[in-house]
Amino acid sequence: MGETPTAVVPGVAGEARGHGSMAPVLHRVADRRRETADVVTLTLVPLDAPQMAFRNGQFNMLTAFGVGEVAISISSAAAGGGPLEHTVRDVGAVSHALCEAQTGDVIGVRGPFGSGWEVPAAPVAAAGDVVVVAGGIGLAPLRGAVSDLAERHCAGDRRVFVAIGAREPSQLVFDEDLERWSRAGASVAVTVDVAASGWSGRVGLVTTLVADAGFDAAGAVALVCGPEIMMRFSARALVDAGVPPESIQVSLERNMQCGGAWCGHCQLGPFLLCRDGPVLPYAGTVERLLLERER
């Protein structure tokens, strides 16, 4: 946790934050890796502050100075003291500026904010399989959790299933991670909607991977992230496969701005997602909200 005047305050659901969380901490881009044509992963190192502690699934507000600020999920793993990474898709002015940032450039970071993925610590007698369902760049907020589970043996004896869907092969991210997770024993399955020439993998919706995965549904914990419509249908497929709705978590996003639950821009029903989310239990309120037509 940062102790400088621009202290980073850990994001804990429901916890009030000081004004320190409103001032960006300067970070240098230590590495820049292109994932796809419009997705870049930035490795960030604080200039004059300790590296922040965070939980898998949380997000930071990243500032491209002179352009603006945007909420981006942390895509590196919380355990192991690895680097702070964010994976950004170029969809607007700020994300474009971040994607264009080069090694050595300085950007601002506020956070971490929000809730993280809740996976019961292993070994737990009742702990079942962990099922991760990701759509497109929705794998980014899950990457740290999967890395911790698959590579750092945080899963104990539990099996880890990772189901990934993308529009087409060129939009798949984290190729090297997928191989590492497989080598570490996770069951990783990938499917695309549209097969390109040379693609020898599966073609179809990510929900078909859920149906075929072969996990122990009744005791499973499921983590789902992607566009909302994908999460809606994936959660339904998990429930159809026998996963209790109470065991499913989803990551929701709206227009995160302050990160401190002050401005209200990220309100979704009873939730202020920058504080109560982005990770929320699917059962109950979220299940209803995902079906609700917004006005």
Partner: protein, 156 residues
């Protein structure tokens, strides 16, 4: 121990739990087949004379384009049923289906099965309900794929 063809039919999701002696009736039209990787199970334009119940492996549903070669529309795995055109005139395949790896299928002779269904409307109705459920599922999947589920929303 060898598994009988009736047991293979009964263990496939499409036909599990058929009432009465319907399993034996269907099994009388079926045989167990191994398909090598790359081999076609069915080819566009050819007579649709077989229902394939996939037991293991992956099958690609393909369409051949003059410029792009074979385009994979969908892949189907264990528990899937491949081929619907055997149910409807003119009984010709609309697509190719190719084994992506060593595939095990129960191949049901469609002419035989249609004959049994015609002779026993209760069996025919049962089969039609089950195949219709598969068709509905595939239609819903296709609709969702048209939406581009992954394109909207998150930017990181």
């Amino acid at each position: 121990m060898t598994t009988s063809i009736a047991e293979l039919v009964a263990s496939h999701p499409l036909l599990a739990g058929l009432p009465g002696d319907a399993t034996a009736t269907v099994a009388a039209c079926a045989r167990n087949v191994a398909v090598a990787p790359g081999e076609l199970l069915l080819a566009e334009g050819q007579p649709a004379d077989t229902l394939y119940l996939v037991r293991r492996g992956q099958v690609a549903i393909e369409v051949h384009t003059p410029a792009g070669g074979a385009v994979v529309i969908e892949t189907l795995g264990s528990g899937a049923a491949v081929g619907w055109s055997w149910l409807f005139p003119p009984y010709r395949w609309h697509f190719d289906a190719r084994a992506l790896d060593p595939v095990g299928v129960v191949a049901v002779d469609a002419v035989c099965l249609r004959g049994k269904a015609d002779a026993d409307p209760a069996l025919g109705y049962e089969l039609m309900q089950r195949v219709a459920a598969v068709l509905l599922d595939r239609l819903q999947m296709t609709r969702l794929r048209v939406l581009d589920l992954y394109g909207a929303g998150r930017h990181g």
